[in-house]
């Protein structure tokens, strides 16, 4: 089998001179299927079994549970809003089908656009295809709202990959996290698609009943029709035509936007703590379920792929800032004060379990390229992300979440942190050798 495949690959190998693009493409797929037969030349004679592909794929593996749950949760939130199938397992096939219809296009577009650009630049620069986009491409769908228009997604990825990565020289050279750069592009260029209360639940559209604005489910498309055809064939319930009004009391707001306006009380009036913990709440596709993210983080730490230093120090940083905010605005004094003080009074441990803190900690801050590269630097870097991120989340009146901005901000400064760590190392060395001489 292996031999036949190898022969097949070697037979179809395109000519490098005549069609460089095809050859780069071929090389990409070939090295995906087969570890190359290159041997060590100078230097070490044996090499560790670990390479960049394996590193990257382990990050992607760590996200798989988030993908599974995210797919389900898109459908679950949709039906929860309509007041149908409110049980976790009711209408499971519909929820998953709806989730797939939403997430697959996002996933495919992300990879086609991102990898396309990657392949193009690899050909142009004459180097093999690098694995960087494996992780970015897996992260981007998870941090987008389910209803993101595909053209906006495309534009944001083009921006992130070309300006954020290829302009700096490709994988390993970028300054900012690619996935977050894509998201921040949408955030600033098309804010209405990624903030507010209406974007986190999929397939709803505005309508009005008796002049009071409300929402109803949008017309289902051909894909839903296809699934309906299958489901009705086996006798299961179907999607129908859409146009169902949302249930009474539906807001679509995320816990954080509730917290920003009314503090912990208004959060708990809509969502229970266990809902927020298990992740059956509206939000970006992959960031809602805390246990699954923690499982991913444990997997990353256990395999040594991601830095535990950054994760731990980020938790410490956010906890410290949370306690400071609690100290400034204790809940006893803020019961009657509206707005921001109530947000500040939310106990710090709830701050950590709300929003996308854990997802940012496990998958975004730990990107080795954009994080600080010294171990001491990682402590500072992670701490400051946690510290600054919570300030942004609470103090920013426009948008109650801060990790994306905090991480990009600290990405910018990670080299500076490293600089001081290295300076310290250099002066330590100078001192040490002086002592040794005298």
């Amino acid at each position: 089998m292996k031999k036949a495949l190898l022969n097949f690959f070697q037979r179809i190998e395109p000519d490098k001179k005549k069609s460089p693009f095809l050859h780069t493409l071929f090389d990409g797929f070939f090295t995906f299927a087969f570890s190359p037969n290159t041997t060590t030349a100078k230097g070490v004679h044996i090499r560790d079994g670990m390479d960049l592909k394996r590193t990257m794929v382990h990050v992607v593996l760590a996200m798989q549970l988030c993908y599974l749950f995210g797919t389900y949760n898109i459908g679950h939130q949709h039906y929860l809003a309509l007041g149908q199938y409110t049980g976790l397992l009711e209408g499971l096939h519909l929820k998953i089908a709806h989730g797939l219809i939403k997430i697959l296009p996002i996933f495919i577009v992300t990879h086609v656009v991102g990898l396309g650009i990657e392949f193009y630049y690899a050909t142009r620069k004459g180097h093999p295809i690098e694995e960087g986009f494996l992780v970015s491409g897996a992260l981007i769908p998870l941090i987008m709202p389910p209803d993101i228009p595909l053209w906006i997604l495309t534009v944001s990825i083009v921006f992130a990959v070309i300006i954020g990565k290829e302009a700096f020289g490709g994988t390993g050279m970028n300054i900012w996290n690619i996935a977050l750069l894509a998201r921040v592009f949408v955030f600033f260029a098309y804010p209405t698609y990624i903030s507010g209360d209406e974007v986190w639940v999929s397939a709803l559209e505005k309508t009005a009943v008796d002049g009071i604005p409300t929402y109803m489910s949008a017309q289902y498309g051909w894909a839903h029709g296809f699934f309906d055809w299958i489901f009705s064939g086996v006798g299961w319930s179907t999607f129908g035509d859409g146009g169902v009004l949302v249930a009474d009391g539906f807001t679509g707001a995320t816990p954080l936007s509730l917290a920003a306006s009314g503090g912990w009380e208004s959060v708990t009036s809509v969502y229970t703590e266990s809902q927020m913990w298990w992740g059956t709440i509206p939000g970006s596709i992959g960031e809602t379920s805390k246990p699954l993210i923690i499982l991913g983080a444990i997997f990353l730490i256990a395999t040594g792929v991601a830095s535990w230093r950054i994760m731990v120090s980020m938790v410490i940083g956010a906890a410290v800032m949370g306690m400071i905010l609690n100290g400034i605005a204790p809940s006893e004094f803020t019961e009657t004060t509206p707005g921001i003080f109530k947000f500040m009074a939310i106990p710090w441990y709830y701050q950590l379990s709300m929003g996308s803190f854990l997802f940012a900690m496990a998958f975004m801050a730990t990107d080795p390229v954009t994080a600080s590269s010294t171990n001491t630097g990682k402590w500072v870097y992670g701490f400051l992300i946690g510290f600054v991120g919570l300030i942004i989340r609470v103090m920013n009146p426009a948008y109650p979440e801060g990790w994306m901005l905090a991480i990009l901000f600290m990405n910018t400064f990670s080299a500076l942190i490293d600089h001081y760590v290295l300076e310290a190392n250099m002066s330590r060395r100078a001192k040490r050798t002086q002592v040794a001489v005298s």
């Binding site: 190359p36 044996i46 090499r47 560790d48 079994g49 394996r54 190392n425 330590r428 001489v437």
Partner: protein, 504 residues
């Protein structure tokens, strides 16, 4: 109340430490606090044979366990008959030295073979007696090797006796240079042969090699204890500072008495995984080198050769080497001489097909063909399989076990498993992506990745500041092994060292 008490104790404790510092009693090693240090609480138990001496525990590092270590510690007679002196073994030599012999000449062990045209005093001598059968040239007509077919009965050039107590340092240096002993020294920074006028600040000797399949120095030194001690005495005359001996505190038993009872030297115990046995690491933890310092390093067998010159009046370049690796039928220790022919050493073995011969260990050795010779400072021949095969989804689902420090392989479940490694790169070269992995295996206060980047952009100040002078290739070899991006760290380091050497 408790907090107050704790504060009082804490202040008193700090005062104690301040006092210790002010009277100069605090040398960084003794603990003057009433609280035990964390490292003391969790440090592994010091083995009995160390006695009262303090031990430097090195946490970072990794032992690559490979198949093909010799089962018997018995040293057998080697089968090598052809030997060579190879000018490219010495860093910094002009590529075309002045060769003093011709093909067909008879030489005795210790007869000069060539010298560098720039440094005419330093002679390089024949390791064995016999007939010069070839002078092979390499690129651009440089001299690659001078090959000697050894006599059955070894003849030594008789050396004039030298009285260590009476002779001055200048006379000693002249004697060493004339008789070929000068080339035994390696000078850091740069790992070059010292210039005739150089006086080392200190001299460092590591008495154990922690590299994969490396020979056990206790076996090497057996029977040569007197020569080793004599060599140390000579070294003491050469340096204004001290001679440091690095000893292994991690071994199963006590090191040879040649090391533990050596006189006139400063002994330091080290406990750690590879590269704890590298002399560069030991220097870093004893008395680090700055840009102005010069220290010399020697291997155990070089010290013995040096000592024999003064004990017996001859240049005895015999070596105990280990012929190791999973691809040969019987890994073993053999007694032979410097620069033995690779093919000769495995004459009595069955060697698998498609193998790679390495002079030295798998991390910092050099690839050789069967017709080539072991390098000057190597006392090890390793034979591993070539890895020129394709592996289906090898990066994702590796089917055969392989050495790795990564937690993504189940290797940590089998801490004592030995691996059959081959020369496959297990991946393609990439830009630096993963951070912090070098620091895990390098027990030095140093940032290898940043140093590499400084070298690549030719930033002299950074290179110097980040400690390029403290490193030789072998120290970074393990970092290169673990590198996810498959970067050639040793090569980059050598380029950096060459640049710095030209600058100075």
């Amino acid at each position: 109340m408790l907090i107050l008490l704790f504060l009082v104790v804490q202040v008193a404790d700090n005062l104690l430490a301040v006092e210790a510092k002010s009277i100069g009693a605090d040398d960084g090693k003794s603990n003057f606090s009433i609280f035990p240090r964390f490292s003391e609480l969790f440090a592994p138990k010091t083995p009995d044979f160390v006695g009262e001496s303090s031990v430097t525990y090195l946490k970072q590092g990794h032992d690559i366990l490979l198949e093909g270590a010799p089962e018997s510690t018995e040293v057998q007679e080697g089968t090598a008959t052809t030997f060579a002196v190879q000018p490219p073994n010495f860093i910094g030599l002009a590529p075309i030295p002045k060769v003093l012999v011709e093909v067909g000449d008879e030489v005795k062990a210790g007869d000069p073979i060539f010298f560098d045209k720039k440094v005419t005093e330093v002679k390089f001598v024949a390791p064995v007696s016999g007939e010069v059968i070839a002078i092979n040239r390499g690129e651009k007509r440089s001299i690659a090797e001078v090959v000697i077919l050894a006599d059955k009965e070894q003849k030594y050039k008789a050396l004039a006796a030298f009285d260590l107590d009476k002779g001055s340092r200048e006379e000693l240096v002249a004697y060493l240079m004339e008789n070929g002993a000068w080339s035994l020294f390696q000078q850091r920074p740069f790992n070059v042969i010292p210039a005739p006028g150089d006086v080392p600040r200190d001299i460092f000797i590591s008495t154990f090699d922690s590299a994969p399949l490396a020979p056990d120095a206790n076996i090497v030194v057996a029977g040569k204890e007197a020569a080793f001690q004599k060599g140390l005495d000579v070294l003491n005359q050469l340096t204004t500072g001290e001679v440091f001996l690095g000893l292994n505190a991690k071994g199963e038993g006590a090191p040879s008495t040649a090391f533990t009872e050596a006189e006139g030297v400063e002994k330091n115990w080290f406990h750690g995984k590879h590269p704890a046995g590298n002399v560069g690491i030991q220097i870093h933890h004893t008395k680090p080198i700055g840009g102005q310092d010069k220290v010399w390093t020697l291997g155990v067998q070089e010290v013995i050769t040096l000592g024999t010159m003064f004990l017996e009046g001859k240049y005895d370049a015999s070596r105990v080497i280990v012929v190791s690796g999973a691809e040969i039928s019987e890994p073993k220790y053999v007694r032979t001489a410097l620069g033995a022919k690779v093919g000769d050493l495995v004459k009595d073995q069955t060697v698998a097909d498609n193998v790679r011969y390495i002079s030295g260990d798998v991390l910092s050795g050099e690839q050789k063909t069967a017709d080539q010779f072991l390098n000057f400072h190597d006392d090890q021949l390793t034979v591993i399989a070539e890895g020129d095969y394709y592996e289906l989804f090898g990066w994702l689902l590796p089917l055969s076990p392989r050495p790795s420090v990564s937690g993504t392989f189940p290797n940590f479940l089998f801490p004592d498993a030995r691996f059959k490694a081959d020369s496959n790169t297990h991946g393609e070269r990439r830009a630096f992506v993963v951070t912090g992995q070098y620091e895990k295996v390098l027990p030095m206060d140093l940032y290898p990745q940043h140093l590499m980047k400084a070298i690549l952009v030719n930033d002299f100040e950074r290179m110097e500041g980040l400690g390029i002078y403290e490193l030789a290739e072998e120290d970074l070899a393990l970092c290169e092994f673990v590198c996810t991006s498959k970067q050639p760290l040793q090569q980059i380091l050598r380029e950096g060292l060459d640049t710095m050497r030209e600058q100075s």
